[in-house]
Amino acid sequence: MATTDTLADLVARVPDLDTGGGKKKGRETGKLTGPPWPEAIRDIFDPVLAGGRDAIVGLVGMLTEVDDGRDYKARYTLHGLCVYVCRKGKEKERAVVIDALGAQLGGSCPTPIQEVIVWELETVGDERAVPALAPLLNDPTVGPDAVRTLVAIRDGAAEPIRKALAQAKGPMRLHLVQAAGQLGDKQAVPHLRKAATAADADLRITARWALATLGDAWAADLCLKGARASGWERIKAVKACLLLAETLAAARDKRAATDVYTRLREACGADRDAYVRDACDRGLMELG
């Protein structure tokens, strides 16, 4: 950051919002036409990055808790920086941004500001952001977004999610179960098996889907039991059976895949289930 420019001066260089008028009248009021990338880098992003960690922390300090547009220049600058430092050659600057953002999480930072930081870490974060995100995983307000960001980051995310899942109660358990499935974390299987018999239907459905995508043959009985139920859970249990069979087939466990297809076919004998039986038949045919 040049000595003559304060952070506020740099952020103020983001163009003002359109005021409307012209042929479109008021329809274009409040919209932003940003500067071209080379100008944004020269006039805003590089000078802010030159201010190091303090400048990033200062930028976060300019965010308002209520997203009513007053802080749009700071939000635009922060997001632009997060995108910019993901370029090749900007690795050092990226590390500074991740460190500065991660350090704002938890503590006394207001929840709406933490949410913005978590969303930005979905853009810029990598495994260096994981330690800052992990403590949020049992927070019912910021937690779902922290889970989302960790799933997006992937590298290093499975372990903290698994650990949080082992402790989780309430709504966060559902988010963590889904994340374990999305990350393909086989070490989470014991927790997923437990969740697959939970009283909460969404949790059961999601855990069975996760086990099916992981190819856990243990889940076959549970999924097939669900396929004999009714309603939404049945539809999702049938899907879990088919996914499980496909995963087992891909892993060359022909016997287990054949078993799932055959039993699902038997469980779906009604007229309305002809399409499920057809799906099983196609699966069996592909198995040879």
Binding site: V66, D67, Y76, Y84, A274
Partner: protein
Amino acid sequence: MARSIRQVTRRGFLAGSAATAAGLAVVPRHVLGGEGHTPPSETFGSALIGCGGRGPGTHSDLSRKHGLATRCLAACDVHLGRAERFQHKAGSSCEVYQDFRRVVERQDIEVVAIGTPPHWHALISIACMEAGKDVVCEKPATRFIAEGRALAEAERRYNRVYQVGTYGRFGMSRNETNRQMRKLMLSGLLKPCKGRYVHRRGLKVKQWSGRLDVAPEPVPEELDWDLYCGPSPVKPYHPPRHGGTHRWYWDYEGGGLGDMGHHKFDPITWLFGKDGTAPVEVEASAPPASSEVSGMWGWIKLTYADGFQIVIESGEWGEPTGLSSVRPTADDLSEEATKQLAALPEVKECVGFGEAVKTRQKAGGNAEAAHRTACIMHLANIAIRTGRKIRFDPNTEHVIGDPEADRLAHQPMRAPFHL
């Protein structure tokens, strides 16, 4: 070249599809639908999920455009007022729902029209196919690339009929010259292909870029805001997030490009045989994007593996590319390649949704084709949002060498919603 590509009007399409429908024999569904279907009803139980905006039109198109006799059994919207308004038009057999899962459970509903915002398109389409239903879904088919693969997988796994709500490819396929072009491009004999399609304007870039000066308000009583947000993060309720202006927000769509792009490029992917693959390189000219809303851009260049290019110019920002369209031609083929081309099977007209439902064929705008067209807009928006040139593998459907950009192609969803 652009002039030679016949633009199909809605009226023109209706005339064509009505003629197709009139030519179809009425065949009992226990014969057509395979073993297990109850005979013989020509009236389909239908539902509309997403009753605002284009939703009612999409449902009425089931009969008007697709020639299906329907009895509307369900109107579903996260905004109850919208569902009730549609119910009044649909008649006494139609019940109102706020949660699409309750509609999907109903076994008497066979065909579903989906008119929700795009962040729900793939999930609801997939759920309907999982429940054995056929689907017409408004464009764009998806909000990001991984959704499209899951959609195509569901269509394949359950062998259901899916049609995205844009129909330019149907008119395109009725023209013999266009069918010959598709045949040439699908043959892969043009190596490298020097063809280029340049599209200028008409993508409502400024109109559907987002406002940044909107303050949050209390959620209206009739709206289930949590369910509206669904797989996307729950954000404060800014009124434009719900309604037609949902197009502004990355959480729900992809601006004018994401929305109008499906209309503009679906006929093009059909014509040039690119509805079974995706671009391998994408570059955009645009200012840094907002984290929340779509904004301005100038041009996008998308290059396919064979060298064919699609160039899109907004005409609303920055300098034009100066490029013009180049029509691929069989004149460039060797004598041997010309013989090989002649030996290939002829390209057929696209099958309409109504015919596909009755005869269990793939519809022209099937999930794979819709997904591949949607990839154009998604990849373009990834290039715009990252400010980086994107390399993409059409087989694995991952961005190559840029994991941060790949996050936009494979976005996590909020539980309990997953692909």
